[in-house]
């Protein structure tokens, strides 16, 4: 083999090996950031990829030749109603989504993006409206609801204590009216809406509310907790009566008498539709069909394909009972929507499935919410502020004192200089805990004697840090001053400068890069310091390491939050390092190679 070829092959092997090492080196950091964006349930089952949002079919609507399949992750699927072929698709990437169709737009309400509209003919065209709402904890919003009435859109959100209805004008694109839903059952949570004549019926977690839209007054409230203990999830009107349903059943409600007149179904009623005299109730296992005229009831169960544990649909499996969340009518053909994006066309007369489709997978979930949750659970802002404040001040003080001392050591051959530098080196050999134990008891003792608090204060820990990092800084800085040619200073002395002036005007400017490098190093070290901060800070002056330690101790299994906290603790120093790495690398290597 020729020499140069061999050399190139070896070089290539080294190159590959180097990138392998680089990958291994960076993997833990990448894994930390990646895990902080995952859902904890995925971490706990050891799943590596990010999860897709659940694409349960939430609403199915027929609109001319099109079938709209709307899923809980904010997915909007426009299908041909006969072939179930996808014609257009968009995703709103929302939480607790609700949909509404009008002539030109698909309206999407959600907890995190309030109100969005998508153009029916081109779903890429969309617009978002931020509504004037209080700052919710979005994870606690149960549902959002929109209905339309006479060209206006009514929007509300299910959040305990939020009792308002917003009237949104789609033409002017702004909120035109706000209704207060305060009632005698307050505080309540709004679950569903139904425009009914010139009234608005509002399903609450405790009952049913009748709002007069003209006067904006609450007309009546009916307590239905005995029928629907956690609220009215769905509301429909039929023959002058109202059907209310929730997780305990579906009931016929007479608004004039103000009470439930008939129980239609007991059990979890997921979907509710009315058609003529018939009431369709979607349940956990298929759907029920009631004929109010004849009082007959039919049960339909074999509607959907089965699903594997990981959520993929098994093709050609037997039809089995599954949740029916929504349905739409087309004569005898019913369009049924279920979990995992499953859609079936069902012929009620023949009692068989005549077509099926599947909505797209949900969007990948990147859980930024971990950071919000983490921030909500711990006072991370305080820790960050404390860390920046304490480490920054300690760095400044340590640099001032170390620069002075290092200059003195490198330029003046004063008596005691040798033993001074020996002591400085010797302090590095003493375990930090050796300083900590007496310092701790001294602080406690001093406070006891003078009543002057030191432990748990800013100046206490800043003093400890500054003094603690001075010896090492002197050791590095001495090399920088030694590298500055003496002749410059001698020339200045001859020109009549005092030693202080020489230091200030000649030596100091030349040593600035070294001081910056050492300063950053000290800052990184102080940022990293756990033991002293653990013992010497209090709840108000706690730095990040101590705060994180307390936090992760309380959230042992919330790896997502722990990794989010770890990332937040790392990012500031990483950015600092990345910006100033030229100084650090140059400074530290210069000091070390000479030392």
């Amino acid at each position: 083999m020729p020499y140069y070829l061999k050399k190139r092959i070896i070089d290539w092997i080294i190159h590959m090996f180097m990138f392998g090492l680089l990958a291994v080196t960076l993997l833990p950091i990448g894994w930390m950031i990646y895990s902080s964006l995952k859902e904890n349930t995925d971490i706990l089952i050891g799943k590596i990829p990010l999860s897709n949002a659940r694409n349960n079919v939430y609403e199915i609507m027929l609109d001319g030749p099109d079938l709209w399949v709307l899923t809980s992750d904010g997915g909007i699927n426009k299908w041909d109603k006969n072939t179930l072929k996808e014609e257009d698709h968009a995703t709103a990437q929302t939480m607790t989504t609700h949909f509404l169709l009008d002539k030109q737009h698909v309206w999407v309400s959600s907890a995190n993006k309030h109100l969005q509209k998508f153009d029916k003919d081109d779903l890429k065209k969309s617009k978002q409206f931020n509504l004037p709402l209080p700052d919710f904890d979005k994870a606690k919003v149960v549902n959002s609801t929109i209905v339309s009435r006479q060209g206006k859109i009514y929007f509300t959100m299910g959040y305990k204590g939020f009792e308002e209805l917003l009237e949104f004008d789609p033409v002017q694109e702004k909120v035109t009216r706000r209704f207060s839903l305060k009632n005698k059952l307050s505080p309540t949570q709004i679950r569903s809406l139904l425009p009914y004549k010139d009234k608005m019926l509002v399903g609450l977690d405790k009952g049913l509310l009748k709002l007069d839209l003209k006067s904006g007054k609450v007309e009546a409230v009916y307590n239905l907790v005995q029928y629907l203990p956690i609220g009215i999830a769905r509301l429909r009107a039929i023959n002058g009566k109202i059907v209310v349903s929730g997780n305990t059943g579906a009931f016929l409600f007479d608004t004039e008498k103000g009470k439930v007149t008939k129980t239609l179904y007991t059990g979890n009623a997921l979907g509710l539709r009315v058609h003529g005299d018939k009431v369709y109730v979607g349940t956990n296992r298929g759907f029920k069909l009631y004929d109010l005229k004849t009082g007959k009831m039919q049960d339909h169960a074999q509607l959907f394909r089965q699903v594997r544990v990981d959520g993929t649909v098994i093709k050609d499996s037997e039809f089995a009972p599954a949740e029916v969340a929504t349905l739409a009518f087309n004569g005898d053909r019913l369009y049924l929507g279920s979990t995992y994006g499953r859609v079936s066309i069902y012929n009620v007369k023949d009692q068989r499935v005549v077509g099926e489709g599947a909505a797209r997978m949900g969007h990948l979930v990147i859980s930024w919410v971990n950071y919000i949750d983490m921030w909500r659970n711990v006072d991370f802002g305080l820790y960050l502020r404390n860390s920046f404040f304490i480490c920054g001040l300690a760095m400044v003080f340590a640099m001032v004192f170390a620069t002075l001392a290092a200059y003195a050591l490198s330029r003046f051959d004063f008596p005691g200089s040798k033993s001074f530098s020996m002591i400085i080196l010797a302090t590095q050999m003493v375990p930090g805990i050796m300083f900590l134990i007496p310092t701790y008891s001294n602080f406690v003792k001093l406070t006891e004697m003078t009543g002057f608090p030191i432990k748990g204060t800013y100046y206490g820990i800043v003093f400890v840090y500054s003094a603690f990092f001075v010896p090492f800084s002197i050791w590095i800085l001495r090399g920088f001053f030694a590298a500055i040619p003496v002749e410059l200073e001698e020339a200045a002395r001859i020109d009549g400068c005092s030693p202080l002036q020489v230091f200030w005007h000649v030596a100091l400017p030349l040593a600035i890069p070294g001081i910056i490098a050492t300063g950053i190093y000290v800052f990184l070290q102080a940022w990293d310091e756990l033991v002293f901060a653990w013992v010497l800070t209090s709840a108000d002056t706690m730095t990040i390491p101590v705060g994180i330690r307390n936090f992760v101790g309380n959230y042992q299994n919330r790896f997502d939050l722990i990794m989010a906290a770890a990332t937040v603790a790392t990012i500031p120093v990483m950015i600092l390092f990345f910006m100033l790495q030229k100084y650090i690398v140059k400074g530290l290597t210069a000091g070390a190679v000479k030392g």
Partner: protein
């Protein structure tokens, strides 16, 4: 003699002004505490006597006796294991960081595209705070949900059963590997600077003599890097004997006990001092450790001097 000394002191009197703040700081935070610590190691300091520690009973060498000899003393439980772990940990970590750092330094000390970026990326672990390193690797070593076991069993099928990393003898590796990961970039940084100081002519001359790469490394690179690796070994020994953050944060995220294969002297002292309030014993172990370190460092210096003289 004294006159000369005094003259020098007067001539450089400004120097004392310069070092004065440092001296005050060190007196309060370094010198006094050391003597206090040595004094405290002779006291019976428990949670009962801590508040009046100036009046605590002086027990002479009782603490040292308890730590070193007394077979019935509770403070000795786990102390031998901690010392053993610390010794293994220190040596493996110090030389591991040195060798991996050297390997990486040699690899990045070549000409290739994106050299600067690769060097910077290699340095990233060194910026990750040590307590984060502990938390992060504590998470990665988890038996069921940790990425390491997932990679070993589910992805690469190297092992049949997921091993425990944070319980049993494996613990020692579980604390050594993250420490090496955290510190080798720094070794690389210094060694790379050292490599760049070696004149190219030496290698060219060796090439003319037909020296093998292996021989070139041992005859040129290694001896000329001596000032760097000498410092790295010295500071590696000191820092790793006093290692604390990574280990304390890895087990129960700062709340747990590292176990008999993960406990180090520093975590042991910290537990004795700040969790069981046995300050006397804590300082006694610290003093013993300090003496050991001073001996080791001196031995190292003597060896280093000798080696230096023999090369001259």
């Amino acid at each position: 003699m004294f006159k000369k000394w005094w003259k020098r002191a007067v001539k450089y009197r400004v120097a004392y002004l310069f070092i004065l703040p440092t001296i005050i700081g060190m007196l309060i935070l370094h010198v006094t505490p050391i003597f206090q610590g040595i004094y405290m190691s002779f006291l019976d300091l428990s949670q009962f006597t801590l508040n009046q520690y100036l009046a605590a009973p002086f027990v002479w060498f009782q603490n040292y006796y308890d730590v070193l000899i007394n077979p019935n003393s509770p403070v000795r439980i786990g102390l031998f294991e901690a010392a053993r772990n610390t010794a293994i940990y220190t040596i493996v970590v110090t030389f591991g960081t040195l060798w991996i750092g050297l390997l990486a330094a040699l690899m990045v000390n070549r000409e290739f595209k994106g050299k600067g970026l690769v060097r910077t990326l290699f340095l990233f672990p060194w910026v990750v705070p040590t307590y984060v390193t502990g938390i992060l690797w504590g998470f990665m070593w988890q038996k069921e949900v940790g990425i390491i076991n997932i990679l070993l069993k589910d992805v690469f099928h190297i092992v049949a059963e997921k091993p425990f990393w944070l319980i049993g003898p494996n613990t020692l590796w579980a604390i050594i590997i993250p420490t090496i990961w955290r510190y080798w970039p720094f070794s690389m940084l210094l060694l790379l600077a050292g490599l760049q100081q070696i004149p190219e002519e030496l290698y060219e001359a060796a090439d003319i003599d037909g020296a093998s790469p292996w021989r070139k490394f041992w005859m040129i690179t290694w001896p000329l890097l001596k000032p760097v690796w000498a410092i790295l070994i010295l500071f590696g020994l000191i820092y790793n004997v006093y290692a604390f953050n990574i280990v304390i944060m890895m087990f129960g995220f700062g709340a747990g006990f590292p176990g008999e294969w993960g406990d180090l002297l520093m975590t042991n002292i910290f537990r004795n001092s700040f969790m069981q309030w046995n300050f006397g014993v804590g300082t006694a172990i610290s003093v013993l450790l300090m003496i050991t370190m001073i001996i080791i460092v001196n031995v190292w210096f003597i060896y280093y001097r000798k080696a230096e003289e023999s090369t001259k």
